[in-house]
Amino acid sequence: MFAHVLSVIIFLPIIAGLLLLATPASRNIARFTGMIVSLAALVLSLDLYMGFQSTGHLEFVENIPWIASLGVSYALGVDGISLFILMAGSVLLPMVYFVFATKEKGYYANLLIVQGAMAGAVCAADMILFYIFWEVMLLPVFFMLGLYGGPKRLPATLKITLYTIAGSLLMLAAIVYLGVSYHAQFNEWSFALDKMAQLNLSGRVAAVAFFGFMIAFAIKIPLFPFHTWLPDAYTEAPTATTFVLSAIMAKIGVYGVIRFVVPVFDQEFARFAVLLAYSGVIGMMYCGIAAITQKDFKRMLAFSSASHMGIIALGVFCMNVQALTGSIYQIVAHATSTGVLFLFAGILEERTQTRTISDLGGIAAKAPVFALYFAIAMLASVGLPGTSGFIGEFMIILGAVKFNTAVGVLAGTTLIIGVCYMLWMFQRVFFEKATPKSENFKDFSLIEGLAFLPVIILIIVMGVYPQPFLSKITPSTALQFASAAPVVAQAASATNAHLPELTIEQK
């Protein structure tokens, strides 16, 4: 439509949010501003999506030098990997303003800021710029969780904040280390992402820097054993925050791994890939089993979300095109299914004033539309064929089996746990006898039904006809391996002596 469309997508919500915070606007004005701004961002993103050429490289590039002496620039761009996370945010966030009408001004304003910051983190093509957006996107979450969260919100807020900041500050050291190494090797300062892939890193310091990045992203995803902040934060946070955290922010952690760790630290990544893949699988199992025993459905969804993040992360660690493409696809599928489930859970909580599964029952009879939507999102989340969840999970498992049979088999069988807790919860909440709390449950209003309809349709379309989406993703994921392949192959042959079962696809 016009130049700098990415900047507008990023800064329009941020500026609108800051203006709302700075002015004594009423909550209705805040809600409508949020609605209009997020819809504007949606229109711009759709336009971006239509104009996307799927070359595999960064498109819609903006590049303005900022700190010339250190080579830091204001550089933005999207490729097939970032496009889908950006789209997931733009498509899903407007719903919140339609569904939740009675929140405070700060709620909507912070939501706008976090939307802009997440778009910025996804589009940034400079490491310093990425880091700035990465940190900024935590601040609204901090305030939303602390101001509007549940009764035990303070410990949860502190936990998530200190945890994430500790991780990201270590990442800052690693980023600076990369910049300085680039200066040392090429005699030129730069923090640009695409240039970092040329770096030739080895030795112990490189491994430390690799873990500096990896831990920051593992905390955000969250990858086992860094997931301990998640149940508290997801449960105590207000619905929209949980939604933002699980649907998009967690994905930016995965995105970080794909964008920073895989191209730059190819050797270290190849060395530790099996370890990381197992940590993904263990996270899947552990959080899945934990989800079965939960009595609180929001907490159950939190564990289920963590479990699914395990498989998405696994797709990245398998180091082949199928698994990576599957991961990106699953990112969108997970955002539309589990993210939306969190919104449904929020509605359920608002209307029944309880989060305990045993307090509920028989909702399907009272609210058929709600039950239908919930069922579709739930089935997508467990990966039923014909829904979006199936395609992604199938590709990841395929890639995982190629990468390491044991991991693939474990991941494939673990999926059954997801079916267990989801269906059991669905049965207890939606069927069986109605309880006093769920007796007067009101079904969706027309506006709510229409607000959720596009996402529900998207779930089915993505499950039935994935090709248009895949064709936008594949060039970028293929390119990731085209450039990294020689090194990955070398590293693989080097490590194969120690790990005979490690087989890496050499494209």
């Binding site: 010339a68 250190l70 880091y131 305030f143 502190l158 900041i165 280390y177 300085v180």
Partner: protein
């Protein structure tokens, strides 16, 4: 000649302004409000002159008459700008502060300007005797300012502590200067550097001892480990604007002269670098340990000032003696000054009469009663904690980059660990302000608009500085 005069003009304006203020208050021609405006005017004019005198490169001022005692470099000019801005904002916040507290007389402002003239001289000094004189001009004024509230026991204790220890530091400096003179035959930095280059640093015990004493004096004034013990009590005893002034202006001046002294010669710096490494690490972690335990906001800020001294020491360890521009140090000082001054500006009107609101608990629920001030304080705290997109983040980024570039990876990582720890006490105040309900009511009437305006100007500064790129 005119050029030299222009470069020296800020110092002349500030010095003349201080004398004028002192005289007119001696003749009782001034109310203290007028004195506040007068001192602010002096600072503003000097700031503008300093800003306009942007002739780059190093110039030896009046090399014939002064024999190379004073040098104006881009670093000293930047430090001068920070000091003058600190003075301006302190004058403004003092004006508001003394609407609620009644121990003010017009001399207060004249002393503040005197202190600034000492600080300015300190940034330009390239000779040990001049350093001593400038340090004493600054310190004497600050001693009196610390103890200005004569009827307050805490304040009196603070000034006694500071005066005794500060006098020792001054004695150490003269002792060191004498040793260095004995070894090298000169007190001028240039001559000392020539001597070190010709004879080596480690060969002359008197030079080692002398520079040790000088470093002790500087570390004391900069509040570095192991000379940090006075900081918390003195900052707590002084009135809020004075504390802010000490934490920013004084620290800027000390680090300017510290850097100028260290970059004399590469072997001098490398001789001390191992010690500075440990001093920086201990300063950061001891400061953090002290800050975590504090209940009073002012004491926490004092302790966090120690931590920031540690970060600045990292930059000092990492400075290269070749083409020293000091831009990293100057940038960090500016970023730190903007956020620290901002928070003290806010405290000067939030504190109320007699600084009643002082502990963390007193700030509970501030976001409800004063949303804009709470937001401003949060911005300053986030900047001190180094969260982007504030100036504090960029300052920390430059320091970490220069440390890693200089091969001090361990130091950089320890600096980052320290800033993770410091998150706790900065976040604690934000949590109290936003997420807790007020336990006690405070009168929220603001006596004057000057300090609030300054606070918001500084909020803008915190963001503006972060966008301003620096040349390393």
């Amino acid at each position: 000649m005119t050029n030299d005069l222009m470069l020296l003009m800020p110092l002349i304006i500030v010095g003349a302004g201080a004398i004028l203020l002192m005289l007119s208050s001696a003749y009782q021609k001034l109310t203290h409000e007028m004195a506040a405006y007068g001192s602010a005017l002096v600072f503003a004019v000097a700031f503008l002159v300093q800003l306009s005198a942007c002739i780059t490169g190093n110039a030896v001022l009046f090399s014939g008459a002064f024999n190379g005692l004073l040098v104006a470099s881009s670093f000293s000019k930047a430090a001068g700008l920070i000091i003058l801005a600190c003075g301006f904002f302190t004058a403004m916040s003092s004006h508001t502060y003394f609407k609620q507290n009644d121990f003010c007389s017009p001399e207060y402002y004249s002393l503040m300007v005197f202190a600034a003239s000492g600080m300015l001289l300190l940034t330009m000094a390239q000779e040990l005797i001049t350093v001593f004189i400038a340090l004493e001009i600054m310190s004497l004024a600050i001693y009196i300012l610390v103890g200005y509230d004569r009827k307050n026991v805490i304040s009196t204790e603070a000034v006694l502590k500071y005066l005794m220890l500060g006098a020792f530091a001054g004695a150490f400096l003269t002792m060191g200067a004498a040793f260095v003179y004995g070894a090298t035959g000169s007190t001028k930095f240039v001559k000392i550097a020539q001597y070190v280059a010709a004879h080596g640093f480690m060969q002359t015990p008197a030079l080692i001892g002398g520079s040790f004493f000088i470093l002790v004096a500087f570390l004391f004034k900069a509040a570095a480990f192991p000379f940090h013990a006075w900081v918390v009590d003195v900052y707590d005893g002084a009135s809020v604007p004075v504390t802010g002034y000490m934490a920013t202006g004084l620290k800027t001046a000390i680090f300017a002269v510290f850097a100028n002294f260290l970059v004399l010669d590469a072997s001098l710096q490398s001789g001390w670098i191992t010690y500075l490494f440990y001093i920086a690490v201990f300063t950061m972690f001891v400061g953090n340990l002290i800050a975590i335990g504090q209940q009073s906001l002012k004491r926490m800020l004092a302790a966090s000032g120690i931590v920031h001294t540690g970060y600045l020491l990292i930059a000092l360890v990492a400075v290269s003696t070749k083409d020293f521009t000091g831009s990293v140090i100057a940038y960090y000082l500016a970023a730190y000054a903007a956020s620290t001054l901002g928070i003290f500006c806010a405290l000067s009107y939030l504190g109320g009469a007699g600084e009643k609101r002082s502990t963390f608990d007193d700030f509970k629920g501030l976001a409800k009663s004063r949303p804009y001030s709470a937001a401003a304080v949060s911005v300053f705290l986030l900047s001190m904690a180094g969260i982007p997109p504030t100036a504090g983040f960029m300052g920390k980024f430059y320091i970490i980059t220069s440390a890693i570039e200089a091969g001090q990876v361990t130091l950089a990582v320890l600096g980052i660990v320290s800033s993770i720890i410091s998150m706790w006490y900065y976040l604690r105040l934000i949590i109290n302000m936003y997420f807790c309900e007020a336990e006690e009511q405070f009168g929220e009437a603001v006596p004057s608009n000057l300090a609030p305006i300054c606070t918001f100007v500084l909020v803008v500064c915190v963001f503006a500085i972060s966008l301003y790129p620096v040349v390393i």
